[in-house]
């Protein structure tokens, strides 16, 4: 027993364990996703997060300790975002031809995400300070946190709402767009990127390369628009409640 405790004490402090478990949990999620015929509800991120959260609880591990290992995976988000330029470039002709539809969909999608989110939560009695944290939820995390801070929300609360929005979009986008009978991969990808940032974009890449490329642009443009519009519409929108 002492031996196990010794090994555990070593492992619990080492980044190796939680890095390995992060990859393994995602592997399990991915296998489940493929085994169920790529059902959107069997989201690999959601499964991995649930498995790891249970493991952390069972082993009494803090998030800080977990992140020591997981930071290597987290770090790759930066280079991966930069890498989105490549599929963008591969779709250059397509993107040039779609400039006007993209611009209109961006403004409509971005405003709908901000206004309807605050409106629904406000109508259900959520207090104004939490509404401010909710407002930028569709923008990519670093932008959303900055916006939240600037308009008087709580960045840590916004982080939770942003990730939840991303997973929600990734789960509902395929059935919803099928229901709407939208077959244009440009429209499908773009709107998912606008509404649910990187996690939506990751989902779009699982489905179709063009959708992924357009989702990447949607994410980038909505980051910009949210940063510009949120401070302007926040006082008006929150004033309603």
């Amino acid at each position: 027993m002492t031996e196990f405790t010794e090994i555990w004490t070593y492992l619990a402090r080492d980044p190796l364990l939680w890095l390995t478990l992060t990859l393994a949990a995602y592997g399990v999620g991915d296998i489940a996703f493929k085994a169920t015929g790529r059902r959107p509800l069997v989201n690999p991120v959601l499964i991995a997060v649930a498995l790891l959260a249970v493991l952390l609880r069972l082993t009494d591990t803090t998030y800080a300790t977990y992140f020591e290992g997981a930071q290597f995976v987290h770090f790759m988000l930066g280079p991966a975002t930069v890498a989105l330029a490549v599929p963008l470039h591969a779709n250059l002709r397509n993107i040039r031809a779609s400039a006007l539809p993209m611009l209109c969909a961006l403004v409509v999608g971005s405003l709908t995400a901000m206004i309807s989110g605050v409106f629904i939560a406000g109508s259900l009695g959520v207090s104004p300070d939490i509404l401010l944290s909710l407002l930028p939820k569709s923008a990519t995390a670093p932008v959303a946190l900055g916006v939240s801070d600037a308009i008087g929300g709580s960045p840590s609360l916004t982080a939770v709402l942003v990730i939840t929005t991303g997973i929600t979009g990734a789960i509902i986008c395929t059935p919803l767009l099928n229901l709407l009978q939208i077959k244009d991969w440009r429209a499908r990808g773009f709107t998912v990127g606008v509404a649910s940032h990187g996690i939506g974009t990751a989902r779009a890449f699982q489905v179709n390369e063009t959708a992924g490329a357009f989702s990447g642009i949607g994410m980038g443009l909505n980051a910009l628009l949210t940063a510009l519009l949120a401070p302007i519409i926040a006082p008006w929108l929150i004033g309603l409640y």
């Binding site: 930069v82 330029a85 779609s98 989110g117 959520v126 939840t164 929005t165 709407l180």
Partner: protein
Amino acid sequence: MILHLTTLLVFQLIGEITSRVLGLPLPGPVIAMALLFATLVISPRLAAAITPTTKVLLSHLSLLFVPAGVGVVGHLDRFGSDGFALATAIVGSTALAITAGALTFVGIARLVGTSND
């Protein structure tokens, strides 16, 4: 592979510096994406070279959100009695935004007659 990753990191670094120096409301990696895109337009040969590496990175994009997702779980109870209202708001507004955006895109595309190829 190493050279390709270095290219991405160099662009990210330039993006981070640009974002801070100019005080832009965009995160460094998003600026870097725009800069790399502009570079690829000028030099398509670079695109052909780094494509295999970026494909690997992007095909596992969802894995990269797992650590942040795990961080969220610990904060879920902070919402207390607001949990249901916020969940409803997130699901409702995400569905509305996707619907409105997609219909606008398709509608305008049809109006101006841009083909989907």
